[in-house]
């Protein structure tokens, strides 16, 4: 495992460590001591993050995308006392706050919009350093917000809105390396999600599903920034799967990797969800299944070679990405153990696969309104897919914004339930033929958001059995939930709604136990961590997402809370009196 720190930083590291020790030793109480600067985390720590509930070291909380914190100081009994303890403003409203903060050993690393990066004392909210990536004058494809960063080996890794990957020194915020993935002006693609560090590599996905671009996933050497491998999500001539594209479109067919993958260390498999084929709606120039669009791909992270794939939506005509998180769940029932991959597709269906082989296990709808398919066959392939003819209007549920969007699911391994969001909104799609030009937008028509037939639009959060899809409870959300879910060892589900309320649900019943009006709609990902025995819940506020625009169409009262009312992280904890003597969590 690569643990070495770049030689040029060794001296300063020692110095910092020395200073930290002196400061900590001299502080009467360690409560607000200068946090130990992260020289870490090592791969060993990252891959065993479940052993360190005080930290939130990777995008999904662990490499299985569980978004679960084992901390239980805040629980069903005392959550009503939860109080804001500090806030952090990124100072850039355009783009809101869509990200997942990372916490390592008392330091929080936060990605703000427009590629602003911050290190913050996770106990006090004091800023330790900031780094503002200098964007060239350009039009930014997709959104201005970013969904996060990765921290490993004393470095902070992130992708930029102009399609670079950058490594910073985690102690100082100074730039170490910066490499361009592809000229944003040529590809119309960029990076809005967090990288995933796997062993000695930084693996980065990109946008591009609404542009004429050939999707890919890239791996860089974490130490040097050297490009190591690229996996094209559209096979080229001579590769298996090329026959599922037309000669014209394989180079421009989208299939982006715009979110973050998962990794199973036992199988040494990297799982990544792939987005929609371009153009989104007009499909006549791309006959075939269009592999590996709308698929889960499993790669060898050392080589970037494909191990297996599973396509959820063959020949997509509705913009139904499969880009969302792959929850890796070890499922046990009646003495039978299964290594599952549970995956919510944008089209409102959840697929469950055997994650060793990619074989289909089960599929079920996680929304009520589905028109695009009649069912699935024995291999999970959709049957009776709704045609969407060009120049005609077709009513399709769910909408191209999804049966949910990137707002991530959570899994509580102690209860064994998987929590997922549902949006009941439909759309009218009108495909339209268009000219294909590299790097240019390639929607191929348009869509108009509509409520489901005969009822108003609505949204919900559900608890499911991850294998059978049996629904345990449903909580009807205020508007639709754009923000991710967080599950905790205290038996809670945290999230925030589009009207600005941070809230907690009982993980066993779905009953709302707590809420707090932050004043700004939410589209980020809450996390939990602890410092010096105090558990915190950090909730990003500020929509800024491209998805926020249509919410007021259905919920006019949300209009003044979005799209860009804030870009602020709000951090909650229990009042000190109720924590005293309960410092059993974390360090």
């Amino acid at each position: 495992m690569w643990r070495r720190i770049a030689a040029e930083h060794r001296f300063r590291l020692r110095l910092y460590t020395f200073i930290s020790f002196v400061l900590i030793a001299s502080a009467a109480s360690a409560a607000s001591a200068l946090p130990a600067y992260a020289q870490e985390p090592s791969w060993e720590r990252l891959i065993n993050s479940d052993r360190e509930p005080q930290n939130w070291m990777s995008y999904g909380g662990n490499y299985a995308a569980h978004r679960f914190s084992a901390l239980d100081q805040i629980n069903r009994e005392n959550v009503r006392q939860l109080t804001p303890v500090w806030m952090f403003h990124t100072g850039e409203l355009q783009g809101g706050l869509n990200s997942t903060p990372i916490v390592v050993d008392g330091v929080m690393y936060l990605m703000g919009p427009m590629n602003r990066v911050f290190a913050i004392n996770a106990a006090t909210g004091e800023k330790l350093w900031s780094y503002v990536y200098k964007l060239p004058q350009m039009s930014i494809p997709y959104q201005r917000g970013s969904r996060g960063l990765a921290v490993a080996y004393g470095r902070v890794y992130f992708g930029t809105l102009d399609n670079h990957v950058v490594a910073l020194d985690a102690k100082t915020g100074s730039e170490i390396w910066d490499v361009e993935v592809e000229d944003v002006r040529q590809c119309g693609c960029n990076i809005t999600s967090a990288p995933l560090v796997v062993k000695d590599k930084v693996i980065v996905g990109g946008t591009g599903g609404e542009h004429a671009h050939r999707g890919y996933l890239n791996a860089y050497d974490a130490k040097t920034g050297k490009h190591v491998w690229r996996f094209y999500t559209i096979p080229g001539p001579g590769e298996p799967g090329y026959e599922t594209w037309s000669e014209k479109m394989w180079k421009y067919g989208g299939a982006p990797t715009w979110l973050v993958g998962s990794y199973d260390p036992e199988l040494n498999l990297l799982y990544w969800g792939v987005g929609n084929p371009s153009s989104d709606f007009y499909d006549e120039f791309r006959p075939g299944d269009n592999l590996y669009s709308d698929s889960i791909i499993a790669l060898d992270p050392d080589t970037g070679k494909l191990k297996w794939y599973y396509q959820e939506v063959p020949h997509d005509m509705y913009d139904f990405d499969s880009a969302y998180e792959c929850a890796l769940i070890d499922y046990e029932k009646d003495g039978r153990k299964q290594k599952l991959l549970v995956h919510a597709n944008k089209g409102g269906m959840t697929w469950t696969l055997d994650r060793a082989t990619g074989k289909y296990v089960n599929a079920w709808p996680h929304v009520d309104n589905l028109t695009w398919l009649k069912g699935v066959d024995k291999n999970g392939r959709p049957v009776g897919m709704q045609p969407v003819p060009p120049d005609k209007e077709t009513f399709v549920c769910p909408s191209a914004a999804g049966g949910r969007n990137y707002g991530h699911s959570a899994y509580n391994p102690r209860i064994g339930w998987w929590y997922n969001i549902g949006w009941e909104i439909c759309n009218v799609i009108r495909p339209q033929k268009l000219e294909v030009k590299e790097g240019q937008p390639l929607f191929g028509g348009g869509m108009e958001m509509k409520p489901p037939k005969d009822k108003p639009a609505y949204g919900h959060i559900n608890a499911f059995d991850p294998l059978t899809g049996e629904r345990k409870w449903r909580y009807n959300t205020t508007g639709i939930n754009v923000a991710s879910l967080l599950a905790t060892g205290g038996g809670l589900i945290f999230s925030g709604d589009v009207m600005g309320a941070a809230f907690a649900l009982d993980a066993r019943t779905g009953q709302k136990l707590w809420s707090f009006n932050t004043g700004a709609g939410m589209s980020g990902s809450p996390i939990s961590y602890s410092v010096n025995g105090q558990q915190y819940v950090a909730i990003p506020t500020g929509m800024g997402s491209l998805l926020s625009g249509f919410v007021p169409l259905f919920w006019p009262e949300s209009a003044h809370k979005i799209p860009e009312a804030a870009s602020t992280l709000v951090v909650f904890a229990l009042p000190e009196t109720s924590v005293k003597g309960a410092a059993s969590n974390g360090k």
Binding site: D183, R214, Y232, M449
Partner: protein
Amino acid sequence: MESRSRSAKGAARAIAVLFLPFVLCLSSFGLSPDRFAIASVVGADPRVRPYVELQTSAAQPQSSEIQVEAGKRVYLGSCSMTYCHGAGGMGGGGPKLRDREFTAEYLTHLITEGIPGTSMPAFKDSLSRPQVAQLVAYVLSLSPKKGAAKAKSDPQPQDQTLGPHLSGEAPKTEPAPSPASERVKSDVAVNDSFDIHGDVEAGRALFFDSAEIQNCRVCHTLQNRGGRVGPDLTGLAGKPPREILRSIVAPHAAIEERYATITITTRAGEKFTGVKRDENETTIRLYDTSTLPPVSRAFLKSDVVKTERLNTSAMPADYASKYSLKQLLDLVSFLKSANVSLKDLF
């Protein structure tokens, strides 16, 4: 053998690629009366003479309703996504377009050039001028009273109507060359005799093809696209073909000072070689060209013990063996934007 078949494939692809715009251009000529009217209006000034003129004084083969209807189709395909402006100009992630006080000039400029620093792209490469005009007509129609009244009654103080992001320096007026005629020209040339002549489009593919991880664009910019590691090659068009070829196959022969190769030795004894990116009081940044794509590395000056200038180019020196002669000819043709023949080189 391999490179031969690759270049033949490239040529076939290039012909296919060329043919399509050719057909499309022809079809856009079908709209020629309309196109004419707009070209005369748009060509004069990027801010454009008032839209009103288009509506009233220009020959009008299309009524404004037809114009709006056509614009609606353009809008649907380019702007109406939920991520953008939403159906009917509202409900998208981008700004609402309904009930606004836009002018035609403002919208035309904005659609054509985009808004740097935002998600609004420049549509000058993807929409024709008639399409932009139709789109403008449609967007104005979304603000029935104010928008129309404003456009009609306001014969145009320029900057006043421009947004803050556009009120700075005026974009240079380039009476845009007709893309149609350009394409027609190169199409004819390719068919000419492609055994002897380089092929501009095949050269473009070598330079820019995104299916190749490593090619010229990784380091060089041409016409505002590509990397910033090596010199911008846009200006090469004026150089003799032979000189261009020499700079490709023998990059060490003439090195521009700005792109000289340097080696940085750190306090820890590590050595990095490449092209200096920039420096400030505390930090020096180097494009490390030992790997492609190059990696920009930042060094604290206090950690740098030695900086040496080398007499070599950071550009790989193996293009004479890496590319076939035909490919080199294609590349030179592309850089000159003209089909160069073998005898121009030797």
